[in-house]
Symmetry: C2
């Protein structure tokens, strides 16, 4: 397979993949393009390579920057801004996990702990199932929360390295 074809396939699949994870297709495609670009590239490069509008590129690169996956770089002597993606997949994943935890898991756990205290007869079947379900999810979520914290923080620790080697 030739590079051009492989690139196109990767970008397209990565975009499709993204849509299964609540990420919009274009953002994932731009990310894919940046991941395989050895050097920083410009808005115009992205527009051209993905055939999308300037506004679209602008919005989605901003999002990628908000997610901490891409940075703007200034190249001396150049007027335009360039974009560069973090290439270390472990760091990429850690960053995504960190953001999603902050944006989704933490608020959900907060809500669940509020919902756990409802007034009503605990003998009542409906009340009982509701509190049990909420408690179950909250407990599970709390555990996940801790596991993810360890993953995020233990970036350089021996324990994680060992665990990963164990599963290699």
């Amino acid at each position: 397979m030739k590079l051009t074809e492989a690139k196109a396939q990767f970008i397209s699949s990565w975009g499709a993949f993204g849509t299964h994870w609540g990420i919009n297709r274009t953002m994932a495609q731009i990310h894919a393009l940046l991941l395989i670009s050895p050097d920083p590239i410009t808005q115009d490069d992205i527009m051209e390579q993905l055939s999308i509008s300037r506004g679209n590129v602008n919005m989605n690169t901003r999002d990628l920057i908000d997610w901490g996956l891409v940075e703007r770089v200034l190249i001396p002597g150049e007027r335009k801004e360039f974009f560069l993606a973090e290439k270390d997949i472990w760091k990429v994943s850690t960053q995504i996990i960190k953001e999603r935890k902050k944006r989704e898991l933490d608020p959900m756990l907060k809500l669940l702990s509020q919902l756990e205290q409802i007034d009503g007869d605990k003998k009542n079947k409906e009340v009982k199932q509701f509190t049990e379900t909420i408690a179950g999810i909250r407990k599970f979520g709390g555990q996940a929360d801790k596991v993810l914290d360890v993953m995020i923080k233990a970036d350089e620790s021996w324990i994680l390295g060992s665990l990963l080697k164990f599963f290699k």
Copy 2:
């Protein structure tokens, strides 16, 4: 907070939560409703409680069944079909992980291993970055794959219990 209000909040948030995970809002809401319903409920119950059409309920309950999260139950003497959700959150998560792995991770890994062999000069910067990125993602994905397999299979193992207690 009263049960009715808490229920409504839970269903609505669970639905919003779902959309961040590539699951449609209604499917997540039906799942939420079933999770807090102590007894099996019918299509009409779901239609009424969520104010959605029959066709919509039918489609989304089918999907929930495909995901292995909900089952149809027949109640003796009743003409209608009833739906019942798996309530054990650990089982629910395992099931979701299992399905997503099958539907998304496995095909992606397959594609990546194809993309890893491209023809071209390995000294070329573009070729080099492409193969490195693909290899990096594949390696990471492969590890994740193994970790998930362990989680899925080790359902009853002491090791997992210990790990979870460790993080509690």
